[in-house]
Each structure stands twice: as C-alpha cells, then as structure tokens.
C-alpha cells in the first residue's frame, strides 16, 4: 500500500497548477461575473489543446509505475477543480458521452465518434443527456420516446442540464421505447448536431459553475439513423433487461470518483482561501484553527475515498459502494468547507466579491450532479444492507 506520486504524474500536476493559477481561475471568475459559459471560439480552448492538457501525460517509461487511467483522472480532476470547476468542465473532449460510447458502442461507432478527439487541433465536444424535466434522480423514469420507423428512430422529448450540449458534435441521448417497461425500455442514441428536429441547446442560467454550459434541448420528431442506436440492436437483444440503463450506470460508476475529486479540489480551494483570509484578518485563533483542521481532515478522507474508488476501477474490481461513498462524502465536505469560509469572511462574504462567495455557490452543484447525496446512499444501501429497489 502506498500513496505517493511518480515523477511524471507529479510534473503533470505541476503543469496543471501553473495553468490553473495563471489562466483557469481568472477565466472562471471572469465567466462568473459575465454570467455565461466560455464561448466555444474563446482562445482559451486552443491554448488548452496546444498545451495538451486534455491528454494523459506522456510517460517516458511507457506507463510503468504510473497511475491507471481512473486514478489519473481523479488526480487531474482534483487539481483542475481547485482552480475552477466550471472551466474544467468546459474543456474540449467527449465528456460524459465518452463513457457509454466506449462501454456500449460497436467498434464502428467507437471509431466514428471517438477518433475525432484524439490529438485535437480544433476544440471539439460531445455530451450526454439523461435528465428530463420529470426525471432527475430517478433516471429510470425518463419519458423521452423512441419509436422505430424503418431504418430510422424517431425521438420526441426534452432533456435538461446536458454539459456542453450547446457546442457538442454529438450527444448520447437516452430515450425509452415504452415507459411502462422501466429500465428495460431504455435505448441510447447518438444525436448529431444539426439533425432536423433537434432544438438549439440552450444554456441555463445557474447559481454557480457558470463557465460551462448546462444546456437544455427538445427533440421534435427527431429522426436518427438506425446506425446511431448505441451498440446496435444486438446489444439490446443480448441483454434483454436493463442494458441501456446499465450502460448509463456504468458511466456514472466511472465518473462519480472524478466528480468527487472535483469536489475535493473545491474543498481545498475553500480551505486555502479561508485560511488565508483568517490569517490576513488576524482571526486565526484557536477555534478557527480547530475548524480548519476539521475541514482539512474531512477533505483528506474524502480524497482517499476518491483514490480508492478510482484505484478499484483501474484494477477492474467492483467499486459501486466506493464510488458512491466518495461522491456523497466529497460533496458534503466541499459544501461544509465553503460554508465555513463564508462564516470566517463574515459580512465580507455578503459583498459578492470574494472567491469564497463564488465557491459557496459553485460547490452546491456537486451534491446534485450525477446523483445526489441521497441517491448515493440508496446505491450504497442496496449493496450493504439489501435495500430494496421498490422501498
């Protein structure tokens, strides 16, 4: 058992740190003040690609001794979110859409959809759309309909809060062939930009993490070629129950530790800002120190949970409980750290000028996106005490 970083990974973190301090945080503050996402043609994105920040670090040793992809993802996510979680979520790439394509897609679909993200010279995005106006936590109850019509599928419905959908080349959209079938009726489709019937995804007005778009869109008789059914018919025939839903859940199991790592990074930012403010204001007394110690301790525990969940994923081991635990814990820690920071700021926090005030608004999302803390506990309870699905 060991918990250190190899030189290559440490150097990678250092690169992120410098870029974060010089570019990411100032951009995050700028977009927060502007109240809108970073435009897709912003020079920031080209700079990100030029520096290779969306790629894993090149390893002279070919990868030996370095962390696996999931661990590297949480390390990167922790550091990027420290500087600005909204900006880090806006980075070019397949985003949440990549998971289901890689886990459910046919070889042809994987090649067609994912190749464009290798060695990007122009920023490109993809997205994932599950949430609907009437189906948030209970994603099995989505109402968007998919009806087969010859060589096409016809989609109708509305989707909410799809990250970067406003600029995505394609979106993984979940719809149902029959709502009465529950999860068994789910199908995942690749909806491509410009398809007739797809409305222009509209960024929502949010309380925080404003640097990336959480976009909503509708599908009105949107016709999708049968080839865009993710995994093809064979995938659903072979797994007659819950294949589409399981595909989505596999995505979440892989991404929950990464989201949790984001929250840990934000908790660290809150702590650093709070400690610095307390020190500068001459308020670093005994009680203040104790409370900062508590938050640092909780943040460290949450960070180790992220690493454990990611490490298990890299081992190919089940990580459902650990992934949910890390997500539930880290989000609460981040919220508590931000709230403590606001308390230390006092009325200064009310002015809306301090970074902690922004972080206080930003971090709340972490306990909501990709499964609320309550949903994470239900997932854990199913595994730990056999909590029934229909309870």
């Amino acid at each position: 058992m060991r918990f250190d970083l190899d030189e290559t990974t440490a150097a990678h973190v250092e690169v992120l740190r410098q870029f974060g301090r010089d570019v990411i945080r100032p951009l995050g503050i700028e977009r927060d003040r502007a109240g809108s996402p970073t435009p897709p043609d912003h020079p920031f994105f080209r700079e990100v690609l030029k520096r290779g920040l969306t790629r894993a670090p090149d390893r002279a040793d070919g990868g030996a001794g370095g962390p696996g992809p999931a661990v590297l993802r949480v390390i990167t996510g922790n550091e990027l979110a420290y500087w600005d979680r909204g900006v880090s979520s806006s980075l070019p790439g397949p985003g949440l859409g990549g998971g289901p394509v890689m886990s459910m897609g046919t070889p042809e679909q994987r090649a067609r959809l994912m190749t464009r993200f290798r060695d990007m010279t122009e920023p490109k995005w993809a997205a994932f759309a599950m949430t609907e106006p009437g189906a948030g936590s209970d994603v099995a109850r989505i109402q968007s309909r998919a009806v087969r019509d010859g060589d096409e599928w016809v989609l109708n419905g509305a989707k909410l809060y799809s990250a970067n959908a406003d600029r995505a080349d394609w979106i993984v959209v979940f719809a149902t062939v029959d709502p009465s079938l529950g999860r068994a009726g789910h199908r995942a489709f690749i909806v491509e930009r410009g398809m007739p019937g797809l409305s222009e995804p509209k960024p929502e007005k949010k309380m925080g993490i404003k640097a990336y778009a959480s976009a909503s869109f509708t599908m009105n008789d949107l016709r999708v070629p049968a080839d865009n059914l993710l995994g093809g018919e064979a995938h659903y025939e072979a797994r007659s129950r819950g294949a589409g839903f399981k595909g989505a859940m596999q995505t979440f199991n892989a991404t929950r530790p990464a989201i949790a790592a984001n929250a840990v990074g934000m908790a660290r930012a809150c702590l650093d800002e709070a400690a610095a403010f307390a020190r500068d204001a001459g308020a670093a007394g005994h009680r203040c120190h104790d409370r900062l110690e508590r938050m640092r301790r909780k943040a460290r525990a949450a960070w180790l949970m992220c690493l454990k969940a990611a490490w298990l994923a890299d081992q190919g081991a089940p990580n459902m409980v650990e992934a949910s635990m890390s997500k539930a814990t880290a989000a609460e820690v981040a919220m508590e750290a931000a709230s403590l920071g606001m308390e230390l700021l006092g009325a200064v926090g009310a002015q809306g000028e301090h970074l902690i005030e922004k972080l206080y608004r930003d971090v709340k999302a972490m306990d909501i996106v990709e499964g609320t803390g309550q949903i994470q506990r239900i997932v854990m309870a199913r595994h730990l005490v056999g909590y029934p699905r229909d309870a």
């Binding site: 060991r2 918990f3 740190r17 110690e293 460290r300 309870a381």
Partner: protein, 345 residues
Amino acid sequence: MIDFGIGEDETLLRDAVERFARDALAPQARVAEANRAPDLATIALYESLGLMGLEFADGGLGMQARCLVNQILGGADPGAALALDRLGHAGYALWALDGSEGVAAVTDNPHRRAWLATPEDGAVNITERHASGVLHFAPAGVTDLVVVSAGGVALIRDGIESTPVRGGGLKAMNPVRIGLDAAPVARFRRLPVAPLLARARLYLASLLLGVLDTAGSYARDYAQQRVAFGKPIAHHQALAFLLTDMHTAVTGARLLIQDAAWRADAGLDAAEAAATAFTETVEQSSFIGPNAVQVLGGLGFMQDYPVEKYMRESRLLGLLLGGADQAREEAAQSRDMTLMAGGVL
C-alpha cells in the same frame, strides 16, 4: 504510485490474526471482561504468534502491518488486545530510547509490561531524575512506564504504584490508576517525540478502528434480520442511510490510518497525518458506538449483546494519549494551513 493492495506477507499475517481473533479472542471477550484478564491459553497462543513488536523485527513489516493486526484484534476485544501486547504502544518510545534492546527487554521477558502515557493522561511532573503524580488509566502490572512530554522521553521502572479501578471498559487489561511519588527515572532522553507519538497514536487508532468496524458490521447484520412494520429495519430509509453513513465513517478513518501508516513506513513526516487519523477515528467513535446501540434499540442496551461494550470501549480508547483534543491541536498547528494549494493532499 497509488496502491491500495496488500502484499503476500501482509495477507498471510492477516489470515493468521483473523483466525486467532475469531477462534480465541472474540468468543472469550465477555469472560475476559469478567475475569479482568484473558485466559492462560489465549495468552500462550498469542505469544506463540510472534505479534509483539512485529514492526521492529529485522525487515519488519512496519506500521501498516501493525495497524492491520490491531484492527483485527481490536474488533475482537480491545481490552484483551491491550493486555496481550505487553509492549504495546510504548514500543516506539522504548525503541527511541534504547533501540532493539529496549524493545527486547520487554518482548523477551514475560514478566515485563510496558505502557506509554503523556502528562495529559493524568497529572505528572517529570524531571530528568524523578517523576511524581498520577496517571488515571493503565493496565495492571506495568514494569516499564514511559512518559512522553514535550521535554523528552522518560522511562520509569521503579516506584510504580498501581491501584485497581473499576474501569468503564477495557476491563480485560485489568485497569489501574498509577501513582508516582518521586519515582526514579531510569532513562531520560531529550529527543523529538513527534515521530514516536505518531506511531503510538496509530497503534491506538487502529485498535479503535477495529471496534468501530465490528460495531458497524454487527449493527448492519442485525438490521437486516430484525423486522419492524413489515420489513427488515435496514430497509427503512432512515436506518438504511444511518448504516451507510456508519460504513462511510469507518472507511474514512481506515483510509486516514492507512495513509499515515504508509507515511511512517516510507520515512516521511507522519506526525500530522497520524494526529489527523487519530482525531478522525476518535470523532467517529462518538457517532458509530452510540448508533450501533441505537440500531439494536433496547437490546443494544443489554449486555446480552456486544454493542454496548463496543460503545463503552471505543470511547475509552479515544481518551488515551491526551485524547482527540491533544491530537487535534497538534494536527492544526503542524503546518501552514495554506500548504494544500496546488497538489494532492
């Protein structure tokens, strides 16, 4: 490298200790509590396992192995675990004073028993020559008392007066109050005490973790059997969430202990990490212990079930070495709070 796996040696060790805990220690826990001592057969079996001072042996397995062992033993009976390990958490101070000879003086002599305390465990005045005062809670039969203070490490071998106390728990170690009346200090060294205190805290924290893990598991198993309002109580959301939170609390404490133990074994400064791990484990004992009883309701309050023992003993373990307050203070002061910027924690 991030690696949560354990090696072959640790796996073998774990399996052997689990067998001992399951077959010998746990079944006798109530008997040992009543008799204020483990039975002779258990003592003999423990001595044969060679667990005492395992972290000091040539090519020793280190703190990670110690924490693994203690977690298992603590989960079976922490009082007996403290009684059986005559070296205990004093080993790190004895090593700092006299190296392997200091440790072997206890491990090789079945009539010797070491104990480590800080002045905050009572009221003790130490000079380089004498020690006076009282320590409120220690096992009976201490022959090598080590008192660690900011000034250094003092070893006391004579003038240790023990008075039995009833004990709120950990009775298998036969708790006593120790009085010192100008007791001669056999050895005194001014040395940095943070490294040895870090290890001593990990020793206790891992015992405590074992109790909490067992308490949580017991409550979880019970809640799946006990039916109320037509279904297992674990399937009512209030309790389901409580049980998952208890599991999360144990996991967080375990990870902090593992991280700190790795730091100690890697030769890094582990003082802050160990104080943090100790503080977290103690803090969670106040959550897990009482809630394990709560899950069992009235049955949990009765001595027919083990959870009341878990609740009492987990709280007592967290009072040693100055308790969580002392550890928290050291963790809070150990470094500039802003050092977390720009790197993993």
